[in-house]
């Protein structure tokens, strides 16, 4: 009989403790991000798709179209093209196209680049209805960013 009563009171007490916890949570600030209206900023080392790094002097791409990244890429996403103008010392990159549909963000291209001319972006809301949207012309992006 005493055990019976004890059990009831113990149960009741634990129920009340549980309700105390939930009411406390009820008035805590919410932790969710209201996604379409606001989105999280990605941390420094987040790996988005790659982009070209501009040099400090004139904002042009650091890339010299050496093709190391293209060789390093295991999936063949990168297509770099360059030409050597008359009298210039180095090659000038003329096109840099990333096929993001094949990219697995392995970062091998970034490691291979001896000029630190490519890096990862922090973009992640990349939904689209067409495949073509993921074939990204990085040179054009860099020029758009410059403006």
């Amino acid at each position: 009989m005493i055990d019976y009563c004890k059990e009831i009171f113990k149960g009741l007490k634990s129920l009340l403790i549980g309700m105390g916890i939930t009411i406390k949570y009820c008035f805590k600030p919410v932790v969710t991000v209201q996604y379409p209206h606001e989105s999280l900023k990605m941390p420094e080392r987040y790996r988005g798709h790659i982009e070209l790094v501009p040099n400090e002097e004139n904002g042009e791409a650091k890339c010299i179209a050496c093709g190391l990244c293209q060789k390093a890429c295991p999936s063949g996403c990168i297509t770099v093209d360059g030409e050597k103008p008359e009298g210039a010392k180095t090659k000038v990159m003329t096109s840099f196209v990333l096929d993001y549909t094949k990219c697995s963000l392995c970062s091998l291209c970034v490691e291979a680049c001896t000029f630190s001319a490519i890096r990862h972006t922090r973009r992640y809301n990349l939904a689209s209805t067409s495949k073509e949207a993921y074939i990204i012309d990085l040179k054009k992006r860099l020029e758009e960013r410059k403006k």
Binding site: G18, Y25, C26, K28, P29
Partner: protein, 339 residues
Amino acid sequence: MDTILNYIKIAIDMEPFRLLVYLVGMIMFIAANAAYLVLLERKVAGHIQLRIGPKENGPFGILQPVADGLKLMSKQLLVPDGVDPILFRIAPVIVMVPAVMSFVVIPFSDTIVARNMDIGLLVVFAFATINFLGLLLGAWGSRNKYAVISSARVVSQNIAYEIPMLVTIVTMVMVSGSLNLHAIVSQQLNGFWSWNLFNFKASPLMPIAFLILFVCMLAETNRAPFDIVEAESELVAGPFTEYSSMGFGLFFMAEYANIVIGACLATILFLGGWSCPFGILPGVHWFLLKMYLLIFTVIWVRWTFPRTTFYGLLNLSWKVLIPISFINLILTSAMLKVF
């Protein structure tokens, strides 16, 4: 001003007009409650889980119930092959109508009551029981194995929880000496300590009786943690499995209407109805305040405790609630005889 009030009084005294006002008012009250308690439920659930809940439709999501209702109404009212054509169609009505009927006798304030019957309490419980019959018939008529299992659960749960509830009600009737809900409240009008909840002269177990009534109310309305009737993880949607569109909507509205009735009854029997604890401005607002506090507690309980097992549910009733409510009954009758 007085003459206008007098005219209104005369108009309200006119019986058909009065009936119409109460009928429309009550159905609107129930519909509004059903719609906005769903929103409240989702909001409270959200905040307990540290999120916001519905917020896109209108400011703070206040148009969400409208959107839900429109969505339900625009869906096809499906009657599957092989269901009992009559039972399947009338079950939602059988569940909804008693819920509306119970409101007839509930006194919201000294003056606001549709019909002040001497057997008010009996009326409410007579109709409250029909609710279960409706669920049983709808589930049985659905010809769905989940619905049939849940119909068996409806019956056993009903039997298990009707007993402690009614025994507690009998105790309350003995204390107040009346089945008239208006009369029961009238005895509790002298402030906080005259509420039946603290009526220690009648029985020292009054708060426990309130707790028993509250728990039984949760079980009678199939609310968590006693919602094994519609346990989603095992029974899909219980008795409502085959229902769609407003057939389902009616069941849903009836569930919330029953919660409101339960909260109203607990307020009337234990918390002094429309009386103010400090004696300031007694009126319908106090009734609604107490009622919504109880409803909030019901929602709060739902989002705190996990669902009990079926055996746990029956054990709680037969081993705990029924003995204690009988002890309370005997103790109260003894105290009433002695003092």
